[in-house]
């Protein structure tokens, strides 16, 4: 592909219209789902409106989405200049966006199944400051997308002194970069279908499915309860199984097995044939059955790595890695992060962290936090909870069973404090910090001290009396906290982090 061709203003392929329409429908459903299903009101509304009106409304919405997509598609233009990509778009207001390659931290290529026969892809890129994908080009030729990707990476790899002031790369380095850009790269990790299924069963997606299914079932049960009462099916089932409790347990059990399987299958489809490839300065992840995605990350733009295991994952030893990048305010509020997930790992594969970034391997052991963590939460924390419960019971504000339930919860909280204490741990070699934490699940946050944005030391009255402190390192992707460290050690770590940040030659943002 010639340079002239990428320098010209280009349009999206006609098939991109299908993508835009589907994306519009998906957005409409996502934003209005609560109206359709919300608290049964949606169902009552549908009953009142009738099927014909519903169909007409649906067609109207579809037409609006189609018209919006048509205008967007017609007005959308993009081109690449020497060091940036330009995008012109907008329905009512014309918007022209210019993104410098130097700011790009993540390039993604996606190929939904309906793009495959035409060899089209969806190209997108992210910058550290953007709330969402900064640039998205749905439906451009694969060849063009790959040229864009390689030019972004290539220009970044061999950026001139005028851009970053770091001078020309050394010949050997430039050669290695060129080799890296041209070669297919070395395979670092490939996830088997079994590993993906295990990851899916343990992922938080299960709880989302459970919540949705629980809501759907309760609504359905409410709507058809009268019909069910007329039938003798339930009664006969209850009779066969001896009691309603058994039926309930069986139902919940079957639902859980179904949801575990569904969650596993979703992961297999989403991460189908997941591969992680080492391309020198970049890491490339490819996966997906219905939509094949390729994500390219600059190594120097990775600001943190989390090695994580969910509570269910602990049952069958499934771990995953989150590669973290600089987030922003909006995403912090929405609870989303710039990250790439490497699914389906075993503990024996933990050396992958060190292969992704040199020196980031998990350490052999972790230092525990101070034992007074237990003493503080067991004495002060639980006492603060116990006093209102006991007072409320003593003043007869609450019935006896509520007080007992409160007491029971306190017992659970006592155990939870002990579990939290057992899981907290930290290790550092002066350059890196590893922080282990968790309650039922476990995670190890790996951060490079040079990337720290801000260091905080927090002490409450109890901690000041016992010479303890909480250390919080604010990183570009979020905070890493280690509670109840000896104050001397926390101060030492803080000094080390500040020193590393102030002498760092590369800022990973």
């Amino acid at each position: 592909m010639s340079q002239e061709e990428t320098h010209d203003w280009q349009q999206l392929a006609p098939l991109a219209l299908l993508f835009l329409v589907l994306a519009g429908i998906q957005k409409f459903i996502r934003e209005n789902l609560f109206l359709i299903l919300g608290a049964g009101a949606g169902a009552a509304f549908l009953d009142w409106m009738g099927l014909r009106e519903l169909l007409l409304g649906g067609i109207g919405v579809l037409l609006i989405i189609l018209i919006v997509a048509l205008i967007y598609h017609r007005r959308f233009r993009f081109c690449m200049v020497d060091d940036a990509i330009l995008v012109r778009s907008g329905l009512i207001h014309r918007k022209e966006l210019r993104v410098r390659f130097a700011r790009v931290q993540n390039v993604q290529l996606g190929q939904p199944f309906y793009f495959r026969p035409f060899d089209l892809v969806r190209f997108s890129l992210e910058t550290p400051g953007a709330a969402q994908k900064e640039v998205e080009l749905p439906g451009i030729r694969r060849e063009l997308a790959e040229t864009l990707r390689d030019r972004i990476s290539g220009l970044r790899d061999a950026r001139p002194a005028s851009l970053d002031g770091e001078g020309e790369p050394a010949p050997a380095q430039a050669q290695a970069q060129a080799d890296g850009a041209n070669s297919a790269g070395a395979l670092m990790y490939r996830a088997s279908p079994g590993a993906l299924f295990r990851y899916g069963m343990a992922s938080n997606q299960l709880w989302v499915l459970l919540g949705f299914m629980g809501y759907l079932l309760s609504n359905l049960f409410q709507r058809f309860s009268e019909t069910l009462e007329d039938l003798t099916l339930v009664e006969s089932l209850i009779g066969t199984l001896g009691s309603g409790w058994m039926l309930g347990i069986l139902g919940v059990g079957l639902l859980m097995v179904f949801l575990l399987g569904l969650s596993g299958l979703i992961a297999v489809v989403r991460f189908h044939d997941f591969t992680l490839i080492d391309r020198q300065e970049r890491i490339v992840a490819r996966a997906g059955l219905l939509e094949t995605k390729e994500q390219t990350l600059r190594r120097e733009k990775i600001t943190g790595l989390t090695f994580r295991q969910t509570p269910l994952g602990r049952l069958w030893g499934s771990w995953f890695i989150k590669l973290r990048q600089t987030g922003n305010a909006e995403q912090e509020l929405a609870g989303q992060k710039h990250q790439l997930i490497v699914p389906g790992l075993r503990w024996s594969e933990r050396d992958l962290a060190g292969r992704i970034l040199d020196g980031w391997s998990l350490p052999e052991g972790f230092d525990r936090i101070h034992r007074r963590f237990l003493a503080f939460y067991w004495s002060r924390g639980l006492l603060i909870a116990l006093i209102p419960i006991a007072s409320a019971r003593w003043l007869s504000f609450v019935p006896e069973f509520v007080a007992w339930a409160g007491g029971g919860l306190l017992m659970v909280a006592t155990g939870a404090v002990a579990l939290r204490y057992r899981n907290w741990g930290l290790a550092s070699d002066g350059r890196m910090l590893w922080v282990r934490s968790g309650l039922l699940g476990r995670s190890v946050d790996i951060v490079e001290l040079a990337g720290v944005q801000q260091v905080r030391l927090v002490q409450n009255w109890y901690q000041r009396r016992h010479q303890l402190a909480d250390l919080e390192l604010v990183m570009p992707q979020g905070s890493v906290v280690v509670p109840f460290l000896p104050a001397e050690k926390a101060r030492g770590m803080a000094n080390l982090a500040v020193f590393a940040a102030e002498t760092a030659s590369i800022h990973r943002v």
Binding site: P128, G129, D164, G165, E166, Q173, A176, D278, Q280, R299, T326, G327, N328, A329, Q331, E332, L357, D358, G359, D429, G430, R431, V452, Q453, Q454, V455, R456, L457, V458, Q459, N460, W461, R464, V474, M475, P476, Q477, G478, S479, R491, G492, A494, N495, L496, V498, F499, A501, E502, T503, A504, S505, H507, V509
Partner: protein
């Protein structure tokens, strides 16, 4: 072995030899901070007082039996707020070192924040109507880590806030100009006075 591995070095650093942020002498906040903080926090107390006094009159709160305890609670809240604010004003402070800004605040949870200049993206000074009344200005330092990584230094008088802002902007410019990452050790003595005074 990848190129990353070849270029990688990991020399040990002696933590004991590093400058200790704890030894930095902090400037106290401006004298007007205490009355400003008391008045700004008193609004919450007044709101609570309003609810307590107007509640029974409107009929949606009835605590005739608990009048003494409610009054005691309010007095306790007032004393607590005053004491905490007074302690906070005594403890709150800030310092500039060659390469970072230190800010300390809090009474129950004492928080010391160290913000390296290299991480500051831009600096601004703002002041609300009440702050302007007391001649106070807050200094906001924005970093790349989002809202949680930004730092607001409260309780500076307007002149000092402007001086610190200029100093920080100068440091950021130096940082950008010095491409090797070795910024010049600009003395923090552009500000008048000694913090220990």
């Amino acid at each position: 072995m990848t190129e990353n591995t070849l270029n990688f070095s990991n020399d040990p650093v002696d933590p004991a030899g590093l400058p200790d942020f704890y030894e930095a002498t902090l400037y106290p906040v401006d004298d007007h901070w205490l009355p400003y903080a008391l008045i700004s926090r008193l609004w919450f107390f007044l709101a609570a007082l309003l609810v307590v006094t107007l509640g029974p009159a409107t009929g949606w709160i009835d605590y005739a039996m608990w009048t003494f305890w409610v009054a005691l609670g309010l007095v306790g809240l007032l004393i607590w707020t005053t004491v905490v604010t007074w302690m906070d004003a005594r403890f709150r402070g800030w310092a500039l070192r060659e390469h970072d800004l230190i800010y300390r605040a809090g009474v129950v949870w004492r928080r010391t924040v160290i913000l390296p200049f290299a991480r500051i993206q831009h600096v601004e000074t703002t002041s609300g109507p009440l702050e302007r009344l007391f001649g106070l200005t807050r200094l906001k330092c924005f970093t790349a880590g989002g809202m949680s990584a930004d730092l607001s230094v409260l309780g500076l008088d307007q002149e000092t806030a402007e001086q610190v802002r200029e100093y920080l902007l100068e440091q950021i410019r130096d940082d950008e100009a010095d491409t090797d990452g070795n910024r010049p050790a600009t003395p923090a003595a552009t500000l008048d006075g000694d913090p220990s005074e």
